[in-house]
Structures are given as structure tokens and as C-alpha cells.
């Protein structure tokens, strides 16, 4: 009916509804949003067939924290390539380093600055787009090469 299908999909993972509301307010016009209030649900949603283009992941959560969720996302082939942006109130460089080591692409700090959130989300979604396109091109080229090789082998065998 409308152009929902064209929007990129962003998953917000946070245990506090207020934070989700704020992020929704910032992002819902531009993206197709999903939410999860714990790591378990987040992993389930991320592994679903119509996968996410980006995940905003809160670090401080009860039970499974953001680091653990990120590690699990990266360990699963289906979800490993989804870019993760950590959401945190902690600003120490140390925690930032830890997150980046785990494979996160960026950080957003609370309290949220709407312009900054929008810009970071947009940048990483664009990068993901490029990467997806590149991968597609590599796949195509590889296919072409394989076909060329097969033809070459066949000719040589004859």
C-alpha cells in the first residue's frame, strides 16, 4: 500500500521502554523499526528470515548484557554481518574499546542527541548498502570466472 518495503530495517534492543520511545521518535519516520527488550528476543528477531540492516544495542541489560548479545550475533553466520551500534551511558574509552573489539561498528551515548543518532544510523546503513552491493558484485564476478574456467577446461580437454 505504501512504501514500507523500501525502508531499511533497524532493530532497537533496550530494556527500558523510555529509551525505546526516544529512539523511535528519532528514527520511525525513516526506518522500519523493530524492538526487543532483552537479548534473547533480540537474537531471535535478528535470526529471522527477513533480517535486520542495523542493530542498536544497549549495553547495560539484566540477564544477557549487550556485549554478550553482540558476541552471539557475531558467532552466528546468519547474523554476523549485521552492523551493531552500541548504546551506552558509559563514556569511558575502555568500554568503547571492548565493544569495538567485539565487532560493533560504532557508539551512541545517552542522553541521546537526535541529530547525532540520525547521522550515525544513516552512515552505517549506507556503508552496509555499499558492502552488500560489493558482495553482490564479487559474487557475480566469481560466477563469471567459474564459467570462464569451466569453458577453458572443456576446450583444453578436447
Amino acid at each position: 500500500m505504501t512504501s514500507f518495503a523500501e525502508q531499511q530495517k533497524v532493530l532497537i534492543v533496550d530494556d527500558t521502554p523510555e529509551n525505546i520511545h526516544i529512539l523511535m521518535g528519532i528514527l520511525e519516520d525513516q526506518y522500519d523499526l523493530s524492538v526487543a527488550i532483552n537479548g534473547e528476543k533480540a537474537l531471535k528477531i535478528a535470526a529471522m528470515e527477513s533480517s535486520m540492516d542495523l542493530i542498536l544495542l544497549d549495553i547495560m541489560m539484566p540477564e544477557m548484557d549487550g556485549y554478550e548479545v553482540c558476541a552471539k550475533l557475531k558467532a552466528n553466520r546468519k547474523t554476523a554481518t549485521i552492523p551493531v551500534i552500541f548504546v551506552t551511558a558509559l563514556t569511558a574509552d575502555e568500554t568503547e574499546a571492548k565493544g569495538l573489539e567485539l565487532g560493533a561498528v560504532d557508539y551512541i551515548t545517552k542522553p541521546f542527541n537526535p541529530a547525532l543518532v540520525r547521522a550515525r544510523v544513516k552512515n552505517h546503513l549506507e556503508m552496509k548498502n555499499y558492502r552488500d552491493k560489493l558482495e553482490e558484485m564479487v559474487r557475480e564476478k566469481t560466477n563469471e570466472l567459474m564459467i570462464t574456467r569451466d569453458v577453458a577446461i572443456e576446450l583444453w580437454v578436447r
Partner: protein, 364 residues
Amino acid sequence: LAALKKDQDNRFDLVFIDWKMPGMDGLETSRRIKAMDGIAVKPEIIMITAYDLSELPSEASEASQIGINKHLTKPVTESQLFDVVMDVFGAGGDKSFAFSHDGHKGLISDRSADIKGAKILLVEDNEINQQVAQEILQQMGIEVDIAGDGLQAVKILKKIKYDAVLMDVQMPVMDGYEATRQIRNNLGLVNLPIIAMTANAIIGDRKKSIDAGMFDYVTKPINPVEVLEVLVKWIKPKSRSTSGTDKFNREGFNSDKLPWPDIPRISLTDGMTRLGGNRKLYRKLLSQFCDINIIVRPLLINLAQMLESGSIKCVKQLRVLDSHLSNTKLEKQFQQLRKDVDMFDMDSALGRLKAIASALEISL
């Protein structure tokens, strides 16, 4: 069972019994009803089951020994219900009452076959109303395109042919009256049935609609039975490729050739005196079933998928459902569901949704 005993003065002619129930199951209940003393006219019984009875011959024969020859398979559809009820009461000898009603307002299930495959342009600016109307129409087998305002509608009609147009009257950009005038005058589509959708029976709106060149109107919020009747009235039945069973049903009903099941008969005079009331009951029953199966069920199924995937579209979907579930027995459960969604606890919401669905006997 207790309900039957209590209400002997105000007796039931027909009982719908669920096959699988805790305590006393449907078969046992039916056996006792049929054996019950002090009930002058035994009610007809229709068994509701989730199984295909033709695959369960022993149960089926047990049921027919008790005198149950009719069953409905879940999920119950409007037309199935209608057909079965017609079968049971039709056995009373006079089948004409339902068919001759006002000449043209006969069988709903029969009529919807006439407009199956018709192409309709829905002109409506409100997304929620778009969704509801679209679902109702699609369930009737109608192909629906949507225009968001009058101007879009005019543009679309320039290019594409439709069997009818359902037109909201109040819309931004161009309202329904102006759009209709342009369609009639500028596009020259004088015979295209344009049907106004007017809010809550405002008589002025109706007069204005007819003056603008619309053929008829339905009231909003739209009611499936009303829409169906209006569409049937204005869309010329084409020789559309209806399936074999459709044809069989129609000819069967109209030509009296359908073999009527041999079930205990209701006395003709007794039946006749009760017909008026029954017909109202049919209509009420029918529109309830329409509401649940045609509108609510698809909404619930969509909502379940949204909750499963955590999509925030569920917030909007809840608003659509609100008008159908508020003021019903399920309102409390529904409010809880909304609270869960407010807290984004989709899994808990999904649990409640499943409870609501099973209370409505809808399988998700």
C-alpha cells in the same frame, strides 16, 4: 446443558456444540439433549469440530445415530454457517422464506459469488479505514485497488477500468463529491457505479452524494453485510469463471434439487410463526461471524506476526483492532495486551493475543 434446561420457556431451535470440550464432550451433550424430558421440540444440533468428519467415519456414524447430521469445520466461515443453518431449518418443508426475502436480498453466500472477481477502486484517505475495507472486500473475493484521495482516483480511473468505486466523501486534496463530478463529466464514465461511504448516517451527506452523481451509499464504519448488498445491487454479474462448487450450490439452492438431509422435521406452522424472529437472528449471527472471521481474524494474524518480529507496526495495528474488541467481553484482555505493547514486551503480548484468539475460536 444447563442453559437448555433453564430456558425452556424461551427455547432454542438450534444448538451449536463444540466437539471437544472439557468435562462432557459434544457427543455426550447431544445425546443428553436428545434424551431430555420436558422439552417439547427437540432442538436441532450442529456439531462444530476442527476435524474433517469424512476422515473419521466411526465418530461420524456415532453422531448420526444420535441424530446429528450436520457439522461445521473450524474455522467456521460465514458461508458455511449460513449453508448449514439453511440446511437444518430448510428441512422444515418451506425453503422459500430465506430466498424470497425482498426479492433480491437472498443468500449472502450465494450473492457474494456474483461479485467474486470484480475489480473495485477504494477511495479513502484514512489508512486504518483503507485496511479494514480492503480486508472485507478481499475476503469476498474482490480485487481492490486503493486511491488516497479524489484526485488520485480520477487519475487512476483515466487509465484503468473498474466494476465499481467505493468513495469516501470527506478527503483532503479533492473530496468525494468533486471527484464524482469529474468522473461523470470530464471522464464521461456515467454508468460506473460510484458508492459513497458516509459517516454515521448523516442524511445531508447522502443527498449530497446522490446529487453529485453517486448511485448509492454505505455507512461508516463499514459493515460487511451492507457493503455486500450494495455491491451486489450495482455490479452486474458477469460470466466470471466461478468454480464448480459455487455453481452447484447456487443451482442446488434455487432449484430445490438439493437432496435435503433426513432429519427430524420441525412442524411447518410452528416453524412459520418463528421465521421472522429467526431471520433477524440469522442476520445478527451472520454479521457477528463476518466481523470475527472477515475482519478480526486477519488483523489478529498480522498482529501476531508483528509481535513475533518485534515490529513497531503493531502499535498501529492495535488501534485498528481497538474498535472491534473494545466493549466486548475481551476488552480486559485486550487492555492488558496494549499495556504489554506499551512496555514493548512483545512476547507477553503474544501470549495474550493467543488467549484472545482462542476465546474467539480463531486459530492463528
